[in-house]
Amino acid sequence: MSKILEVKNLRTTFFTHLGEVQAVRGISFDLDEGGILGIVGESGSGKSVTSLSIMGLVDDPGRIVEGEILFEGTDLTKLDQREMTKFRGNEISMIFQDPMTSINPAFTVGNQLREVIMAHSDLNKEQAHERALELLRMVGIPDPESRIKNYPYQFSGGMRQRALIAMAIANNPKLLIADEPTTALDVTIQAQILELMRDLKDKIQSSIILITHDLGVISEICDKVIVMYGGMIMEKADINSLFANPQHPYTRGLLLSIPTNVTGKKKRLVPIEGSPPDLMDPPSGCPFSPRCPHAMEICLKKAAPLFKISETQEASCWLHHKDAPEVKGFVKVEGDLS
């Protein structure tokens, strides 16, 4: 299976006037063609910054300071903005968290949809209009012929998100990044949008990165998952390994904090005790150490490397080190990779 995306040692920092915010601190992962990768982590863990880095949309004063992002072999970090526009909205597209603010209030939905279509194809205005209608139908907007003329303020939140999804899939992207597409919506609407995503996943054959707070959603839709914390990857695994056998204290905490019945009613994550690290001045060792029940001396000094637990699972925790004390459920693996 070939890789559509490979992220290598990505490091993104915001150089604010108060200091450097190290939002993403050297993460690596990849995505198989046709795969669906989930990213979880609590607020501020760097999920959005990761996806914006892939899109080349990190705002000032932020910058990718290190690393490579290979999309079908092309290193996106080497491209300038003009070259990136050929990828954005075309080969790679993105759905954002808040549909209320992510759609331009000053233009009709149709206008914005046509614009995306025409930016990346040779269709003329009428053809683009037809395509736009088709897309609106695909994302389940009733009566698209009249709705296409509406301004966003005439759309509800759920409908806006549908319209934004329509824009994102307009040019059959090879990679679709959805950054918490449901967080800002009502619970019932959330379910509908997820249903739509699931539905589209089969139709459009894109590879997908789905960012969410909700492990329940991950378990239903994704086949692999990354757990992020403090700008770093804590655990990387396929869905089954992660849920059956979490190998990082933070992942465990996350799993404990959701209702036991994973397929049941979804709830927003109940955070683990304590607060996430200040990325302005991150702890030198493992970012989770201040909150970790098993923190050891070394955890305060040095972040753990990713220990390979199995073919499908890696975890960044010193508990896997051969010298570490036994803790129930955590396996030891050979070799200190640092």
Partner: protein, 393 residues
């Protein structure tokens, strides 16, 4: 051998590692941010200077705003002096008065003009019984050949000024009645700033009361009060200020203060009402209401302190605009009456002689611009320092 690195750490040690977030109070935090803002600091310094200039400045001046010296009218801050033999220096004012000055630039006396030969453009003045002839033909020519005046004294003619000196008697020059401009601009600062501050405070009181009542009462009262505000808002207020000034027809300080103070409170009222509506729903106010605390108390205890930030910003912006409006009124002849003078009056007085005595306009204008600039910088800085949206970390 056990690896010490892999000892568990106890929880007390961990706690110390945990990030302690800086928790500053609102005002300390705002001040910290304000201090970082260079322009705001420049503005603050400017505001301080201009206040000192008006309040303290006049104490150090040998003149009062009404002291006249009719020998020395319309003398600029810098002028060219011509040596008259070894007996001193003279300077010809633009009114063709010959002024005896010291080498350093102190004005000593006005010399008596004994003869005016308008045809040859030679005026004669008398000094210690000797004649000084001043030939100013060249001054009036397009092409003066580099010579301005020819001053002849005791048979010696000097065609070039000895040097240019600064006026030591009237540092910023004198006006058409021989009053010291610097002193007048200082007193002008007093007047302009008094008008601006008091009018702003009057506006503040009216606006805050009006807005708070409107917001707290809600319902019909709020509707009516806001309708009134809408009507006032749709009127060009400058006209009303002018009408009021004409109506009261008394060029006193208080007239301007009352007029300005009674007209420009609408913005403040809206601002406060908006804040009140936002705060009203918050728990502590609800709690205060349910336990039957009086409205006046709610206003003074809860709402005012919480709406302080935006109010301070609005006030900082209102002061320069009051200075501006006052100057404007004075400029169209509705200012404070003579011999007192605001900056606007000074500028207005200077307008007639602009081409000959531009310095008389520049100093009050500069003072106005400096004040407006300082307050604006400070206000902009305060706005971003007190902006609740930026209150993080």
């Amino acid at each position: 051998m056990r690896n010490l690195d892999f000892e568990f750490v106890d929880s007390s040690k961990k706690a110390s590692k945990e990030q302690t977030r800086r928790s500053l109070t609102y005002w300390k935090d705002a001040w910290r941010r304000l201090k970082k803002n260079k322009l705001a600091m420049i503005g603050l310094v400017g505001v301080t200077l201009i206040i000192l200039f008006g309040v303290v400045g006049p104490w150090f001046m040998p003149y009062s705003y009404s002291d006249q010296d009719n020998r020395f009218t319309n003398i600029p801050p810098r002028f060219e002096i011509y040596a008259i033999a070894d007996d001193g220096y003279v300077f010809l004012s633009s009114q063709y008065n010959l002024i005896l000055v010291s080498e350093k630039g102190e004005l000593l006396d006005k010399l008596v003009r004994t003869n005016m030969d308008a045809i040859n453009k030679v005026y004669t003045y008398s000094y210690n019984g000797e004649d000084i002839e001043v030939d100013f033909k060249n001054r009036l020519l397009e092409d003066d050949g580099g010579i301005d005046l020819k001053v002849t004294y005791k048979g010696v003619t000097s065609e070039y000024p000895t040097k240019t000196v600064s006026n030591k008697t009237f540092v910023w020059g004198s006006d058409n009645l021989g009053r010291d401009m610097l002193t007048r601009v200082m007193y002008g600062a007093r007047i302009s700033l008094t008008v601006a501050f008091v009018a702003t405070i009057v506006n503040l009181i009216i606006g805050v009361t009006y807005g708070a009542i409107s917001g707290l009462e809600g319902g019909l009262v709020d509707d009516i009060m806001m309708r009134i505000v809408d009507v006032i808002n749709s009127i060009p207020l400058v006209l009303y200020v002018i009408l009021l000034m004409v109506l009261i027809d008394n060029r006193g300080l208080w007239t301007i203060i009352i007029t300005l103070g009674s007209v420009y409170w609408v913005g403040m009222a809206r601002l406060v009402r908006g804040q009140v509506l936002g705060l009203k729903e918050q728990e502590y106010v609800l709690a205060a209401r349910t336990i039957g605390v009086s409205k006046a108390k709610i206003i003074s205890k809860h709402l005012i302190p919480n709406t302080m930030g935006p109010i301070i910003v609005a006030m900082t912006m209102m002061i320069p605009s009051a200075v501006f409006t006052e100057a404007f009124l004075s400029f169209i002849g509705l200012g404070v009456s003579a011999p007192m003078a605001s900056w606007g009056t000074l500028a207005n007085d200077a307008l007639a002689g602009l081409s000959t005595y531009p310095y008389q306009l520049f100093t009050p204008s500069l003072a106005i611009a400096f004040t407006m600039l300082s307050f604006n910088f400070l206000g902009d800085g305060l706005r971003s320092a007190l902006d609740p949206r930026l209150r993080k970390g």
